[in-house]
C-alpha cells in the first residue's frame, strides 16, 4: 500500500494540470439500494410444468444491472411470502431492505400463466396512498398499507420474459421516479468468422436474451440505428461491395435502400419525430452531413467543409445536431443549429473526441474521448463544458444511451475479444455483457417500446 501511495504521489507531481475530472470507480457501488426479490411461488394447473423462465430472477438481474439496486441473495431471505397476508414486516425491517417484491405464478392452461406480484416498502405504512393501487383491490391487512405496486397479469409463454422486464420497469419507476428501460431491445453486429455469412445483425432484449438475427452478409455491416417508433432499423451494409444505407422493417422483414450514392454512405440516424434521417455521404467529394426527408427522399446538405464531417446525432428537440469534424486538425465535436445554420465547436479538451450522442434530457453529450490512457467514454455538460471520463475500459466506441438516460451500452475490447459493455451515466457502475461467439460491436439501444 505504501508503495502504491508513493507511486501515486509521483504521478500526481509529474502529471501536468488537467481540467478533466476522472471518476474511475471499480465495479459495484456502495450506494446501491438493498432490495429483496423473493422467488415467485408456482401453482400448476394439471400436469406440472414449470414456467419457462424464473420471473423473479429476471427482475432481480435487471435491477442489479442498473447499478442502483443490490438484490439480497436468496439464501439470506428471512421468509418466502407469495401474498401480502404472508408478509412479516418485522423480518424485512430487520433485514434492512428498502423494498420487497414477491409474487405467484399460476398456470391457467398449457403455456398461459396468471402472474401476480407486489412491491412493498417495509418502513412506510402510508405507501399505498402514493400508489396507483385501487381501493378494494387489496387484502384488508395492516401490511397492505405498505404496498407500492399490486399487479395481476395474464402472460403467455412467448412474452413471459418480456413481461418480467416490464415488471422490472414498474418496480424501478416506483422506487426511483425515473421510467425504467429494461423492456427495451439492443441491435448489434456480431462477426463470427466460422460462418459463411460472418457479419450478422441481431436484435435482442436489453439483457442480451432472445437474440434474433435480422440480416447476415458475407460483407461488413455497420451503424445500426432505430426509428423513433422502434419498428425499423437503418444500417450500413457492404453487401454490394461498398457502403450503402438500408432501412429494414422489423415486423415485416422488408428492406429498402435509402442511400447508394457514389463514394460512401454512412452513419444514418433518425430525427426524433421520425420524418427525416441525417446521414453522411461523400458523393460530392468528401464526407458531408445530409438530411433526407423520408417521405420524398429529398436530400438537404447540412455541412460544407473540406474536412471530415460525420457521426450526426440529433438533439432531443430535433433543433440541432452534434457531429464529429476534423476541421480543426483533429476530430472534435461540433454542433449545428438547424434553424440558423450556426455551427460551433463543443469539445476542446483532449486530442480526439468523436461519436457523440445527446443525453435524453439534452443537457449533455456522451462521446468517445482519447485520454493519455486510451479511448474511453466521457460525458460533457453542454452548459459548463465539464468533462467526466466514465469508463476504465479501452478502445471504447459505438456508444448508445438507454432511452431513460440511465445507462450507456458500448463496444470495447476485453482481453483479445471485442465485446459489449454497459456503464451507468455517472460512470459509477459498469458491467460487461457476456458474448456468445465471435466479436460483438455496434450496439444501438432501442427507444421505449411500450
Amino acid at each position: 500500500m505504501k508503495k502504491f501511495l508513493a507511486v501515486l504521489m509521483m504521478v500526481l507531481v509529474i502529471s501536468p494540470v488537467k481540467a478533466e475530472i476522472e471518476i474511475l470507480i471499480t465495479e459495484g457501488r456502495d450506494d446501491a439500494r438493498p432490495i429483496a426479490i423473493v422467488p415467485f411461488a408456482f401453482e400448476a394447473a394439471g400436469v406440472i410444468a414449470a414456467p419457462p423462465f424464473d420471473f423473479a430472477k429476471i427482475i432481480a438481474d435487471d435491477l442489479a444491472r442498473s447499478g442502483k439496486f443490490k438484490p439480497t441473495a436468496i439464501a439470506d431471505l428471512p421468509q418466502n411470502p407469495s401474498s401480502v397476508e404472508q408478509v412479516d414486516l418485522n423480518l424485512w425491517k430487520t433485514l434492512g431492505v428498502d423494498a420487497v417484491v414477491y409474487g405467484l405464478v399460476k398456470e391457467k392452461s398449457p403455456g398461459v400463466y396468471q402472474v401476480s406480484y407486489d412491491l412493498l416498502d417495509p418502513y412506510n405504512d402510508k405507501a399505498i396512498f402514493d400508489s396507483q393501487i385501487e381501493e378494494g383491490s387489496y387484502a384488508l391487512v395492516t401490511q397492505s398499507q405498505h404496498l407500492m405496486l399490486l399487479k395481476d397479469k395474464i402472460v403467455g409463454q412467448d412474452n413471459y420474459r418480456w413481461n418480467a422486464h416490464i415488471a422490472a420497469d414498474e418496480i424501478y419507476e416506483a422506487l426511483t421516479g425515473e421510467r425504467g428501460a429494461f423492456a427495451t431491445q439492443i441491435a448489434y453486429v456480431e462477426v463470427d468468422r466460422s460462418q459463411q455469412n460472418p457479419y450478422q445483425l441481431f436484435v435482442s432484449d436489453s439483457d442480451g436474451f432472445g437474440a434474433q438475427r435480422i440480416f447476415s452478409s458475407r460483407m461488413p455491416i455497420m451503424s445500426p440505428a432505430w426509428s423513433p417508433n422502434g419498428q425499423q432499423l437503418a444500417y450500413v451494409t457492404f453487401e454490394n461491395g461498398r457502403s450503402e444505407i438500408v432501412r429494414q422493417d422489423l415486423a415485416k422483414a422488408q428492406r429498402d435502400v435509402l442511400a447508394s450514392f457514389k463514394g460512401f454512405n454512412s452513419a444514418p440516424t433518425w430525427s426524433p419525430d421520425g420524418s427525416k434521417m441525417a446521414m453522411v455521404l461523400s458523393k460530392d467529394g468528401n464526407p458531408e452531413i445530409y438530411l433526407m426527408d423520408l417521405a420524398t427522399e429529398q436530400l438537404t446538405r447540412l455541412t460544407r467543409h473540406y474536412a471530415i464531417d460525420t457521426e450526426p446525432s440529433w438533439s432531443p428537440d430535433g433543433k440541432s445536431i452534434v457531429f464529429t469534424s476534423d476541421r480543426g486538425g483533429r476530430p472534435q465535436i461540433y454542433r449545428v443549429f438547424l434553424g440558423s445554420g450556426e455551427t460551433k465547436r463543443v469539445t476542446f479538451e483532449g486530442r480526439y473526441n468523436a461519436g457523440a450522442e445527446f443525453s435524453p434530457d439534452g443537457n449533455s453529450i456522451v462521446m468517445v474521448h482519447q485520454s493519455s490512457k486510451g479511448f474511453h467514454l466521457a460525458t460533457q455538460d453542454l452548459s459548463s463544458g465539464a468533462i467526466n471520463i466514465l469508463t476504465r475500459t479501452n478502445l471504447d466506441e459505438s456508444l448508445s444511451i438507454a432511452p431513460n438516460g440511465s445507462m450507456i451500452i458500448y463496444s470495447t475490447v476485453s482481453g483479445r475479444q471485442k465485446v459489449l459493455s454497459t456503464i451507468s451515466m455517472d460512470g459509477r457502475f459498469g458491467m460487461p455483457i457476456p458474448s456468445t461467439t465471435g466479436e460483438v460491436k455496434a450496439p444501438a439501444w432501442s427507444p421505449f417500446l411500450n
Partner: protein, 174 residues
Amino acid sequence: MKHLTKLAALAVFALVISACTTTKPTDTTDTGTTQSGPTAEQLAAQRAAEEARRAAAAEAARIQALLDSTTIYFGYDQDLIDSEYTEMLRLHAERMVAENRSVTLEGHADERGTPEYNLALGERRAKAVAQLLKTFGVSDSQIQVVSFGEESPAMSGHSESSWAKNRRVELNYK
C-alpha cells in the same frame, strides 16, 4: 496539398540525379595483342559485363517486387503517403497507363477511434493514393475508391503491431 508540392520537388530532384548519373561509359583502350587466352583487359571487361548484367537483373527484380507489392501503410490518423511508396506508386501508375488497367483502391483504418470516422479516414487515404496515381498520369476512369474503415482488418490483434498493418490502402487490379 503540401505533400503534393513536396512530391513535385522530389520528382524534379530525381530527374536531376538521373541526369547526373547517366554519364557516358569511360573509353576503353584496345591494345590489340594476340596472346592466347583472355587478356587482363578482356577479363576485366567480362567481369564488368557480368556485374552490369547482375545489376540489371537486381534492378529488374527490385522493380518487379515494387509492382508486386500492392499495399501502402499509413501513420495513425494520417493520410500522408510516405516517400518510400513514391516509386512503387509511380511504377504502378506507369503500368496502368501502358496496359490501360483499372484499379480499386481499398482504404482501411485501425480500430482506434470510432467506426464512422474511420470509414471517412479510410476513404481519405484511398483518395490520397488516387491523387498520386493521377499525378503520374493515370486517368480518373481507371480508379475506383472504396473505404472499409476499420471493418476489414488485415490483422485481428489489439496492439500497435496489428494496427500498423491495418492502416492501409490496398491496390486491387481488375
